[in-house]
């Protein structure tokens, strides 16, 4: 198969016709993975024409798959990949229930060419932001979620009754309940966005009750119960540079990622502002300055997110047989002054051009060259 890593090491046999890149003194890593981001689903935040990542009108939307909203021609994709980020999960946020579209490689002319896996999970917001869906109470959100889950299970047992209209009214349309069944069978993860300790505990409790495969996202106060999260074997997606307290997370702090990693939690890092997905490496560098080891931080932007999203067999490390997403850096990839020298996605070298380099060239000399 083309586009795969054939061999890694100092003493491998290099075919005579192989293209050679002198990376003496350089750093080579797998393409970085941002644990959040909506690449191809957003262009300009305030312009609705470019925003495809959210579904309005329904707060139970498990059947909503964002994949077909992805725009492979998005200007954000080259801007991001020329900085060494080669892969994003297109996760959609907010409301009680949203399906995540999948994970994508940041190269390809079509959605099919970009898509690695879809879906990767169903997203549930259990933070302050979704209280409206539970009658403005966290307890209401949890109760509603259980009702939806219970109805989905009952619907799956009684489809014949449903089609004969011999069931009580369901908590959500049948198509949404149907889409939840892989989660309730433990085949597809439930990705819960929660920040407050009590909300994280609710997510852990519900996951135990229904035997779900849980992923925590946000998790600002997770450090307070890191041992419990580690014991539950639940992976966590965190944003290291988030430290603004709110009533959703009074205990938010820069050391969250480090403390979780120290407790043995599988930590992935994320940059929730898609336009800054390329800054995931600075998130990682800052996580190091607040206590993560460098190795933990690299893993948190490569192999761990690949494991969390179920694609580690193909992504996340430089190993023979894996997809050849490779970046050559001028120095330590987490340092602000480090530049990207080569980016390969699926074995293909990506030209280091983007909207930004085009603007630079146009306005390098005035009047601009049109």
């Amino acid at each position: 198969v083309t586009g795969r890593i054939v061999a890694v090491g100092a003493n491998v046999t290099v075919p005579a016709d192989a293209a050679k890149i002198d990376a003496t003194g350089k750093w080579v890593t797998p393409g970085l993975i941002d644990g959040a981001g909506q690449m191809g689903l957003t262009e300009i935040g305030l312009v609705p024409a470019g925003n495809e990542g959210a579904l309005r009108g329904s707060d139970i939307a498990a059947s909503f798959n964002v994949a077909e909203g992805i725009n492979p021609a998005s200007n954000l994709i080259p801007v991001t990949r020329v900085e060494g980020v080669t892969y994003d999960p297109d996760v959609t946020w907010r409301r009680v229930d949203r399906r995540s579209g999948g994970v994508v490689d940041l190269d390809g002319a079509t959605i099919e060419q970009m898509l690695i896996k879809s879906p990767v999970g169903i997203v549930v917001d259990m933070s302050e932001g979704s209280k409206g869906a539970g009658g403005t109470s966290r307890a209401g959100v949890a109760g509603r979620l259980r009702r939806v889950f219970n109805d989905a299970l009952e619907y799956s047992r009684r489809k014949a009754d449903y089609s004969r209209a011999q069931m009580q009214q369901l908590a959500a349309p049948a198509a949404e309940l149907e889409a939840l069944l892989p989660v309730l069978r433990g085949q597809l993860p439930l990705i819960v966005y929660a920040n407050r300790v009590s909300d994280i505990r609710t997510a852990l409790r519900i996951a135990r009750e229904y035997k779900l495969k849980l992923i925590l996202s946000g998790a600002a106060e997770a450090w307070e119960i890191a041992a419990d999260i580690a014991a539950a074997g639940v992976p966590v997606l965190v944003e290291p540079m988030d430290n603004i307290p709110s009533y959703d997370a009074l205990g938010i702090r820069y050391e969250n990622a480090a403390l979780l990693a120290k407790a043995g939690v599988k930590v992935s890092l994320m940059e929730t502002e898609t336009h800054y997905s390329r800054r995931i490496r600075q998130q990682a560098g800052n996580a190091v300055s607040f206590g993560m080891t460098w190795d933990q931080a690299l893993r948190a932007v490569t192999l761990t997110p690949a494991e969390t999203f179920g694609v580690a067999g193909q992504y996340g490390s430089l190993e023979a047989g894996k997809v050849a997403n490779v970046v050559v850096w001028s120095s330590d990839p987490f340092e602000l002054s480090t530049g990207v020298e080569h980016v390969f996605i699926r074995g293909k070298e990506i030209p280091l051009r983007s909207r930004q380099t085009e603007l630079l060239e146009r306005y390098r000399s005035l009047p601009p060259k049109y």
Binding site: G45, A54, I244, V288, E335
Partner: protein
Amino acid sequence: VMTANAAWVLGLDSITGTLEPGKMADVVLWSADPFSVYAKALQSITTAGWSTTATIRRTSRGPTSSWGKSPLPGVIDDRVPAGSDHRDHGRHGVPRVGSEDRARHGPDP
């Protein structure tokens, strides 16, 4: 750009912006090269904090975050009035403002 030039732009270069005898003792002790992602401000000494609103603060802050204050001790940021309610991430001198903060916590429901 972040010290002497910024002081000159604000017309304050005679009193701050460089470490020289006679100038204000606005000094930051860094754990490493301040441009490194790994650097932290360990200690800052500020005799008088000036800002665009010309408020004067007398502070001596330790290594904790600078939330709600100017983003980086010892570095002049002429966009952030001292003591304002500006919510800043203190991302090593890069202030985050307005829509970015909102985006950071996800879109409005």
